[in-house]
Every structure is written in C-alpha cells, then in structure tokens.
Symmetry: C5
Subunit: 353 residues, 5 copies
C-alpha cells in the first residue's frame, strides 16, 4: 500500500513535475557507460552526466546505465540532452509507474518492475527500471545498485555471442530478458514457501499458518500486478508496434513474452494451491473441534449414567430393601461396569474412540 | 443507495427536464471566470451569468467555474448562450450521472465524480463535476465549493509553466488530472483503514469488526463504480476520439489514464485484502469456539469420572467391606488424584492445555 | 420458473404459431389511438381493430396502444394490415421473449419487460411490452392496463415540449424511456428491502431472514435477466443500427442506454450487498453458538469440580478424620467458594462473562 | 464421464475410422424417406439404403431419416453416394461429438445433442443427432427411435403451413427447432426438481438432500455443455455463414438462436438457485447444531448447580448445624426451585427456550 | 512446481543457450528415420545424426524421430543442418515450454506436452514433444521412449490408408492427433479417481480424502495448463495461419481442435465435480459434529436431572419426612423413570434418536 501514499504526496503539483517518489536514499547516483560495436568496446564507470551527451548520435551502440533516481537534476539534464518528453522524465523518477511502453517516435520508453527478495524469508521489494531505447543508444535507470545486469555486461565484454553484432534494440531486449528471468527466482522462492505451508497446514496448523497463507496470497497478488501489464507491453513489442525494434529482434521479444505467460500461469497455479490450502485449513479446524467433542462425549456419556446409579443408592430412604442384600453392592458394581463396557463398544463401532 | 431514490423522483418527467437531483442546498450559486492567454490574465470572481456570454468566442482561453447546481436557471441561461444540447443541461444538474464523455461537435461534455472524505473516519461522499470544453473555453460545474482546483488557479496566475502557453484542452486536462489525483487521497485513507482492520481482526475481533469490514468493502465497490467508467472515458480521449483535444494534449491524457488504471489496480488489491480478512475473521470464530470447547472438555472429562467414584463410595449398601478399611479413604483419594493427573498429561500431549 | 413451463406448452407447434403464452386473462383487449402532428391532435379510445388500418400510411404520427395480448386474432389482423412478419406476430403474444430488437426494414420490432411490484412487500411481476416502430406510426402492446404511459399521453396532449414536433421515433424513444425509468422504482424498493434485511441480520436474524435474503437475491437475478439484454438492444439503437431512428433521436436513446448501465451497476452493487449480508448471517450463527457454548462452559466448569468435592465428603468411609473436625464444614465451604471465585475471574479475563 | 471412456477406446485408430462409439444396440437400423414438394408427397418407410441414392439430385425436397448408428456400413454407403467427407462419416457415428456446424460447400454438417428423461425422476440421457443439409435434401441421423420429429412429419403430411412451400433449409431448421424446443421440457422438469429440493431444504434436509442438490447441479452442468456450443452454431447459421441457408430462413434460425439464449439464461438462473440452496443447507446445519446446543446448555446449566447444592447437604460432616434445623429441608428445596426458575427466565430472555 | 526451479537454473545465460533443463538422463539418445512416398518405404533405426542431413531436400516424406533431449550436441547439429533458428534449438531442449506454434517461413515449430500416468494410481508426469514440419520432412523430439507413436508407424508401414498418399503436413497432424488422443486416457483415469473419491466422501470421509481431493484438483489444473494453449495453437493451424499445412489437412486439424475443446470441457466438468465434493465433505464434517452433539445432549439431558433428584434424597437433613414413607423409594424411582421416558420421546419427536 506504500505507493498509494507516495502518489498522494504529489497532489496539486503541475503535471510533468520531476519529483522523486521512491524511498529516500543518500548514496550518490552513478552513471556507467558501455559503448561498443562488433570489434571495439569502451567501458567508462562512474562518469559525469555531461560525458553521456556525445553518445546521442554516435554510430556505435551506447548503453548508459543510471543507478539512483533521487538526484533528479541528473536525469533532467540527460533528458534534455537526448530530447526526451517532459512526461517521460517525470515517469522515470515517479517510482509508482505501472509497467508500460510508450513510443515517442525517436525513442521508446519502457518502464517495468524488478522484484527482489533481499533476505531469505523476507517479503518481496520492488524497484522501478526504466529503459529508453533510441536509434543507437539504450539508457537504463535503476533505483539502486544490483547484480541483475552483470551477465549482460560480461557478455558484451566477452566480445563473442550475438550481442556485440546486433544493435541497440537487442541490448534493450537483453535487459528486458534479464528482468523477466529474475521473476523466476521469486517464483521459485514462493513455490518453496507454498510447499512449506502445505506441510504445515496438514501436520500442524496454527492461526499463524493462516496469516502466512494470506501473506503469500498477497505477495502473489502484488507480483501479478507487476507481471500482468508486462504481457501487454511485450505482446505489443513482439507485434512490431514500434519501429525501433527490428524484425529480427522481435522473435527474441516474443520469447520473453512466452516467459511472461509462463510466469502468469505459475502465479495462477500458486494462487489455486493457496486457495486449496485455505480449504484444508478450514476443514482441519472443524476436524479438531470434532475430535475435542468426541472425547467430551465419550467420557460424559459413559460416566453420567453411572453417576446417576451411584446417586440412587446414595439416597437415604429408610425402606430400600436392596441395600441390605449382601451381594447387592458387587451386583450393582458389575451392572455399572457392563454399562460402561457396552457404551465403550458402541463408541468403538461409531469410530469415536 | 441514495441515487436510486433520487432518480425515481424524476419519473414521468419528459426527457430533457432540467431538474436538480442532488442534496438540497441553500447557499447562493457562484460563478468565477479566469480569462488568459500567454501574456495576459483577467480574473473575475462571483460575477453574474450574463458576464460569461462574451467569452464564448473570445480568442483567449476562458475558464468559467460554476459552483452550485441547484440554481438551475443560471445553468439554463449559460447553456442557451453557449449553445448546449438540452440533454447536456439536464445531465449537468442530474447529480446521479455515470462518468461519461459526449462529443457534440462544437463542444465535449465530460462528467465525472469527485470523492471526498469530509471528516477523518467518516465515509466517503461524492460530488458531480461536469466539464464542458469548447474551442477556447472550459466551463466546469461543481456541486459545492472545494479546494481541489486551487492549484490549477495558482499555476495559471503564476504565468509560468506550460498551462499559460497551451490551449483550453490543456486546461480541461488539468481539471481531469486534479480530480483523478484526488482519488489517491481516498485510496490512502482506505489503505489505512484496511491496515487498522487487519490488526483488529488478528488481535481482537468483534462482530463490529465484521460490520466495518463490510463497510470498507462497500465503499470500495462504490469507489470502483466511480472510477471504472473513467477508464473508458480517458482511453477514448487519449485515442483521439474527439478533435477538441489536440494531439499534443493526448499524451497528457494518457498519463491520467495510466493513473486511473493504477487506482483500479489498487482498489482490486484492497478488495482482495478485505476478502482475506473475512477468511481470517471466520477462522478466528472457529478458533475461539475451539478454545471454549477445550476448556469445557478438559474440566468435564477430568471431574466427571472422579465424581462417579466419589458417588460409588457414597452409596448406602450395608455390605461394602472397603468402607471399614482404615487406609481405604486415603487410597481412594490417591487413586482419584492419579486419574486426574493422567488425564491432565493426556490433554497436555494433545496440546489442549 | 414459470416461463419454462409456458414455453414447453408450445412444443410441437409449427414455428410462427400465434399462441398466447401469458397468464390467462378474461378482460376484453382494448385499442387506443393518438394521432398527432405539431398543430393537431386526435385521440380515439377503445376503437375496433379495423379503425387502425388507415393510420398505416397517414403523414401524421400515430400511436396505437393495444392492451391485452390474449385476443390473438386482433393482433393477427393488425399484423396483416401493417405487413408484419409472422415471427413478429408470434413473438408479440409469446410473453416469454428475451428483450431484443429486430429490424425488418420497413419496421423495427422491440420487445422488453415492464417490471411491477403490485403490492408493497410483494415480489416482482413482469409484463411484456412490444413496440413496433414504422415510418410514421408506433404500435405498442401491453399485457394489461397500467399507468406507466400516462405521462407520455399527457405530454402529447399538452401540445408543448419536443414530443409534438418530433417524429414517431421520438415517440418510440419516449415509451422506452418510460419503461426503463420504471426500473428505478423497483430498484428503490429493492434498496429499501436490502436496508431492512441488513438491520435484521445485524440485530436479530432468524432462518426466515436467510430465506428473505435469498428471495431478494433471486429477484435481483431475475431483474438482471430483464435489464441485461436491454443494454445490447439500446446500444444497437444508439449506434444507428436501424435507419428508422433518426440521428437526432439517437442522442436521446444513448441517454436511456446510460440509464440502463446505471441500473445494471446498481443491481450489481445490491448483489454485492446481499452477498455481504450472507457472510454476516453465517458469522452471526457462529457467534450465537459461541455465546451458548460460553454459558455452558462457564457454568459447567465452575460447578463440576465443586460437585466432586461435595461428593468426596459424601463418601461413607468409616475412617475420614476430617469429618469429625468442627471447623471442617465451613472450611470446605470456603474452599469451594474460593475455587468458584477464582474460576469466575479466570473467565472474566478470557472475556467469557 | 462415460464419453471420456468411449473416446479413449478409439486410441491409436487412424483418423477417419468409422467406428460406432455409442451404447451397444441390437435393434436393426431403419431408414425412412419423405420426399415432397408443394403439391406432392411421397412417404417410404423402412427402405434399403440403396433406395436413398436417387434422391441426391431430385428437384423435390427429400428427408432421409436414419435411426440407429451402430450399423456403420449403411452410413458409409450413404456417405459415399452423397459424397460426404470421410471426417463427416466418422463424426456421425462417434457419439461423443461436441455440437458444431461444418460447411463443406456442397453440404452443411450439423451435429447436436437431443436430451431425454426416460422415466420420471430418472437422470437425463443424451442422444446424438446429425443433420446433413444439401441443396434439396436433408439427411438426419438418430441413435434410437423417438417421437420428437413426429410433429414435423405431421406438418409435412398436412400439406398446409409453410413447410411444404419452402426448401430443404426450412426442413433442416424445423428439425433444429424441434430438438431445441425439447430442451424446454428438460428445463421444466429441472425447475420442478429444484422447487421440490427447495422445499425439502427448508423443511427437512438430510445429507441425502445435499447429494440430490449436487446431482441436479451436475445435470445442469452437463445440459449447459450440450446447449452452450449450440449458441455459437446457431449464431453462425443466423449470420449467413453458410449459403445453403437462404436469407428468408435465417430469420427463423435467429428465432431458434433466441430460444437457445433463453435456455442458457434459465440454466444459469437454476444454477444460482441451486447455489442459494447450498447456502441454506449449510446454515440449516448450523441452526440445527445451535438448537441441540441450546437444549444441552439449558438443562445442564439449570441442574448442575442444583446438583452441587444437593451434594453439599449430602456431605457427612459431623458438625453441620443446618441439618438439624426443622425447616432447613423445605428452605433448601425452595432455594433450589427459585434458582431453577431464575435460570429459566434468564434463558427465556435470551430466547433459548 | 518443478519447472519454476528449472527455469531459474538458466538465469544469466545469454538467450539462445542450448541447455537441457529436463530430468537428468543417462540412456543414449536415439534417432529413427522413416522415409516414404506412396509406393516406397525406407525404415532406418538408431542412425547417426549425419545420416539425417540428406533428407532435408529429398522429395519423399521423411520422419526423423529423436528420443532423448539431453545430448544437446545432436540437436544442435541437426538444427544447423536443417537451418533452424537458434531460439528453436534452445526451445527444443528447454523442457519447460508452454505449448505454442511458431512459423519461421521454411519450417513450423510446434511444441506441446505429452502426459503420462506411469503406474496405476501414480500422479501424472509430462514430457515435452517438439514437432518441426518442413516442406517434406517432419522431425519430432521426445524426452524418452514411449509407444504413443507406434500406431502411426504401423499405419505408414501398412502402406494403405491415407497417410502414405498425403504429405508431411498430414504426418505432422497424425503426431498431434496421437498426442491429443492420449489426453483422453488421462481424463479417463481422472474420471475414475473422481468417482472413487465421490463414493469415499459420501460413505466414509477422512482428512486423507480431502488431501486426495486437492491432489486431483491440482492435477486437473496442471492438465489444463498443458491443454489450454493447445486450443489456440490448433485453432491457428486450422485457420490456415501457416502455409505448410495444406488446405486439405486443415479439416483434419480442426478435428483435433474439436477434441481439444472436448478435453477442456471435460476438465471443467471434473473441476466442478471436485468442487461439489468439497462442499459435501465440509457438510459431512458438520453432520458428524451434529451426530456427536446429539448423543451427548440426549444422554446428558436425560441423566443430569435424574442425578439431581437422587442427590436431593441423598441429603442428610434430619427432618425429611418422605424418607420414612414406605412406598417413597419406589415412587421416586417410578417418577425418575417417567421423566426419562418423557425425555426420550421428546428427543424421538425431535428426531435426535
């Protein structure tokens, strides 16, 4: 519910106001550039924003990665230099965007969510990733440093493989692919949680189990909210809605689209599994109650009639002839024992004991 | 359910009857005009309706804001002067409109709901806002005075920013944006309510909690009813269904559309959260019953057999040899104590105590 | 379920058989004619069917209203004279039609349901209304006399307002509008029922409440079945699917369409409200059980141990030294009282008393 | 679930294998022919398959009705003579087809389900009906003899009515109409069952009632599976997807389509009714438990404290001064009676008695 | 949930990496070739991958069947020789593909799931089957050896029937048909399981029954996940989305499509049946509890008042005149018996005994 609050903090601002709405951060924003073509590569780490400007029209493929959205003036400078629409710049720093793709003709703006589980067992946190694809540049924006893009960097450096031979659109696709692949990690961890919960619910459920079941359900809903719009986005890119993605790259984008569908399928399955667990939990509550009731019923219905009989012979009437009979006491005791035993077998047949 | 009643009050009236269907009001209706272009601004507060007529064809952008729909003759006069269709005038004052957009060629009629929470903790109330966009004028109608449009007025006065440079369509967009942004406030308050309820349901739920849960659910349904048609409306405007919105403004409208989608997403999430709470509430009822039953069962099943034993030795048979034995009393007491202790550990193992 | 039975009564009949399938009626069918143009009006009540024929091609707008569908020969004669398709005539008298619109080129056939609540508190009954719109005539068919069309007649007589100036399509629209406006009355009464039930379910629910809740739910489903197809029908008319509705009238039809959407929205909301009530009812059952159980548990767990203690000192052992002690009786009484009090405070802390 | 088994019996067969998959039958298959035009009619019962061949290109309308699909060689011969596609012949005898329509250019293949209730109270059984419409012939295939087509035969014989004047497409429509009209009988019987069950569930529900409720639900699901694809099929025919249905017949087909929609509407309503019954059943279980609990609680909480008091005065302490008091016994009895009465009124106020 | 884990194992790999993600296998991969035209057939078992290359452009129809995906180099060699896209080769060995069809112009790539039940009573396992259809070759890939394709081989060998006369597209269709027909086996076994469970739930349900119900539900969901995308795939092939399937084969593909729809219908029905069972299970829990409660209530409410009476006459008051009366004891006993009998008939009337 965090993003609801954040959004309302911007109320009354004119549209296009460049205001960072994410978690406050203190670390310095950082810009890294990789500029490459098939036979050449040029890596510049932690550069000043002005150094990026020259890559706007260079014939090589340039990847400018900006980590940290809280220093909005950097992003505004970059945006101005590369000719981005004011709404694009606003969207980059408003970290509550719904995943979407917007084609501005000379560049495509793609925004999506990266999902992390920071510590094992912790709940998920999300980060906004913006990708701006121009003719021969890709600018990516992250909220904080992470290692999801490292394999891409490695592949570019390796100077083998397709990535060095293909254009900026293939690079943009690679970033999308890395983000989507990361969702599978989350799903895996959710799957494990679900299995754990399932064991718990069958063997030894507590009210705490129910809370954790609902926690998982809510995380699944929130994951779905991040992935669902991706479907549309990638289906649009795969159908050639933008000219900046070449025909040959579209096939790759379709592949990411397939992964997204798979993720959604898996989320739906997990949701079904969690609903099933809820049914099991509810019926286990009823079963427990049944067990408690059976114990009470067995004990009470055996001993209440016996206590009555004992009560009868505890009455103080003067004329109770059986009291004087010698074998009366053992006879009554035997009678009570037999009632008890009959009752017991009655319950045995009913499978209550 | 108020609006159902209101509507039926109009039954039998010819279509196009200009009858105010909102909450009866006594304060005077008020007309404010802001007329501006890039270098000039002219603000007139609380003017007579006739003063508005001249702005119909003026080349500057004119914003006429009417507060109060109960003085229908004012609206009829305005409508006649600006050439509005009778149905438009009827719709402006019928405060039970579903959000919609209608293009009449020379003007566009947009009607939507503004949602308020008047006091903290109170339930939501809604007000109907109508926006009429002509070539170079915007006429907005509100039911009562409010401060949602103040930031727009400030921005126009400030004579900087985009708003003074762009046309009437941008002004109409700004009003739409202000109304939609206001929904985030409501969502925020709903999110807080949901969190409160969640704590309550886990720690200390009462039947009252259930009522409040259903109250929240109903408010979410009613909010959704206001927002859902907005989606369609804004998607239509963003796709260029009307020529009065210029190509350049469409991008901004799409941005509001994105916000609407986000609001709907959040409403759906909150609904899921509330449903989850209902499950927790129901299972907490079962858990409470279980606890009550366990106490009853433990006490009853320990003492009922013991009472029976005591009853046996309270019988008045003449020939009960054990009664005369000296150590019989302490032996029976010890026997009873051991039965009690065994029972207790039995329940301990079952985790009932 | 009535209409299921009716339909099957026609089994084996050739298609196009003109057989009345409604509730059997004995009152005479009645034909009323209003013939008008802007400056002239001619009202004829209770005329013979042959008098209608001349209005087929008259240049004035003619409204022929037929009350009573059971005298099928009248309808057959009318149909023949005005050149209606055999299926149209069959549909007029088969009172189990789903609302629909059929364009036969020279006339449009519209069939819909009028909903009544005949007595306050009674359940809804529906009546089939057929509207046949030709170039300059409207023929409407009702099952029984009612007052829903009276305001239209009054407006035509009043010779002011739009209706006298506009054509037969505007008249057909006015009839549609009157029928749809009538739904709001039903909704209003349903809203009141729902509010009553809600109070009942919170304060004092009985199994009867549940039956009434399901009764309301079923009436909502049946209302929805009548309204839902109207949506499609009116959307078709509003989009200009038939040429007999003029461009200028389409705007009015769209207005009725908006009302239909509003009615559907309200039905859905009411359904949600009723589902919510069901949850409250079910949890109130659990709450009641809880209350009963608590009383039982408190009383039983306080007195069962005490009864055991009393039983112990009722045993007849010869050697029970405490029996001879003077202060033993008050001491045991005090002990039992303190156990009772401790128990009571234990339950107090658990909030069971 | 029968048809699942049947289907798998064909596993591994090459496509187009003509294998009968229905219930094994021993009666001889039978072919009846009616050949007619407006002024002539020629009826031939129980003919050899070779007699049919000449009707392929005769200018009169020929209706060949084949009863019994288990003699596959007859159908193969017919198919060859009339030039049907191998898949059509396979589909005719595979009695587990989903209703569908296939246009092969020179003929249209329509397959649908006829539903029977063979004995009152029995569950539904279905039979596959195939209709092959050529230019001037209709061949219909049934699994077993029945009387659903008799009214059509009668109408053809009667030589009046539309059917003799119109072509083979009208005959095909008449068969479709007869099959669909038959569904209303089933619905009627389901409606009666539902009403019965509803009374039972309110007055006197047993676990058996639940089973019957689920039986009805399952039959509704299975009916829906037969009817739902009809919707699509008839909508296709009504929209003129095949040229073998003339424009003039399309109107009639649309009428059958309307009936199908009505049937689906009724099925959905019945499903809602059954779900409602389930809620009532479940809450009636809770109510019964509540009643049982109240009786137990009232009796136990009245007598347990009284028994305790009696126990107190049954103790054998030597020094219990009140035992010697003359009026002590009646006083204690009166005290106990008043406790009982107070308790009773307490429960009365709680509405437990 | 297995495939979630597998997928994430590939994280960080460049797209198009040919990595086998299925269950590790040790058996050697095996290639079988059948090359045929109408009058000639050439069968080669267990050949080297190089032998396949010559069949790429041979005019005869060639079916290359590869069993075992773990020897990826074989698949890479094949792919290179036949000119497959890198993504195709990656997809063949990634065994977590969603069923899909991709047209690469010179070949069509179809991937789908084969479902097995390896031992009776075991849960389902799935295997990925890839079909590559070129102009005159079909290459199929399986994870492990199986007998599903044997009937096709037999039919080709038999040199009669359609298969030898028709092209590679008919062969591809035959493989699709075999895989889809196999689903009916699974459905049959699910149907049996459902029937078993249904009997169990009515007669003698245990918490284990619930687990098995959810197991079946989960298997149905997982089956649906395999079948649902097939619908789209086959509908695309049947609509002629790819030119490699000839017009004449499309009819056959539509037939497989119909089977898929039937399978989906049956899965949905089974899901409904399982949901129904859940309701029955839940209500059977309540019924059991009711039964337990009734026994407790009957016994307790009969004997608690009687015990009280016995307790009264066990009191030790000195002045209890009735104790001395001779017939008092039998009178009290008769009184208690009559109370017991009255209670018993009261419960009899309430149907509790």
């Amino acid at each position: 519910m965090n993003n609801i609050a954040k959004r309302s903090g911007k109320r009354g601002m004119p549209p296009g106001s460049v205001i960072y709405t994410g978690i406050p951060r203190t670390e310095k924003a950082r810009i890294d550039i990789i500029d490459y073509h098939e036979s050449k590569i040029d890596v510049k780490d932690d550069v000043a924003v002005e150094e990026c400007f020259k890559f706007k029209d260079s014939p090589t493929v340039s990847w400018i990665n900006v980590t940290g959205l809280h220093e909005t003036e950097i992003i505004e400078k970059l945006g101005e230099a590369f000719g981005f629409h004011p709404l694009t710049i606003e969207d980059i720093v408003s970290t509550d965007q719904r995943p979407k793709m917007e084609d501005f003709g000379n560049y495509v703006y793609i925004v999506l969510k990266m999902i992390y589980i920071e510590a094992p067992g912790a709940s998920i946190t999300s980060e906004q990733v913006s990708i701006l694809l121009g003719n021969n540049f890709v600018i990516s924006f992250q909220e904080k440093a992470g290692d999801v893009f490292d394999p891409i960097r490695t592949r570019i450096n390796a100077s083998k493989g397709r990535i060095r031979k293909l254009g900026a659109d293939y690079l943009a696709y690679s970033i999308l692919d890395a983000v989507v692949d990361n969702y599978f990690n989350i799903l895996e961890s959710f799957g494990e949680k679900a299995e754990e919960l399932e064991n718990e619910v069958i063997k030894n459920s507590t009210p705490e189990t129910l809370n954790r079941m609902h926690g998982l359900k809510r995380e699944l809903i929130s994951l779905r909210k991040s992935v669902w719009p991706l479907r549309e986005l990638l289906s649009g890119l795969g159908r050639g809605e933008t000219k900046l993605f070449k025909k040959s790259t579209e096939l790759y984008v379709k592949d990411v689209y397939d992964h997204t569908i798979q993720i959604i399928d898996n989320i739906e399955s997990l949701r079904d599994v969690v609903s099933g667990m809820l049914d099991i939990y509810m019926s286990s509550l009823s079963n427990k109650m049944n067990e408690v009731m059976k114990v009470l019923t067995v004990i009470a219905t055996i001993f209440i009639p016996l206590t009555f009989i004992a009560g009868v012979y505890g009455m103080n009437f003067e004329h109770m002839p059986e009291l004087a009979i010698k074998w009366a006491y053992p006879a009554v005791m035997a009678f009570m024992a037999s009632i008890g035993i009959i009752m017991f077998f009655f319950f045995k047949r009913k499978k209550w004991v």
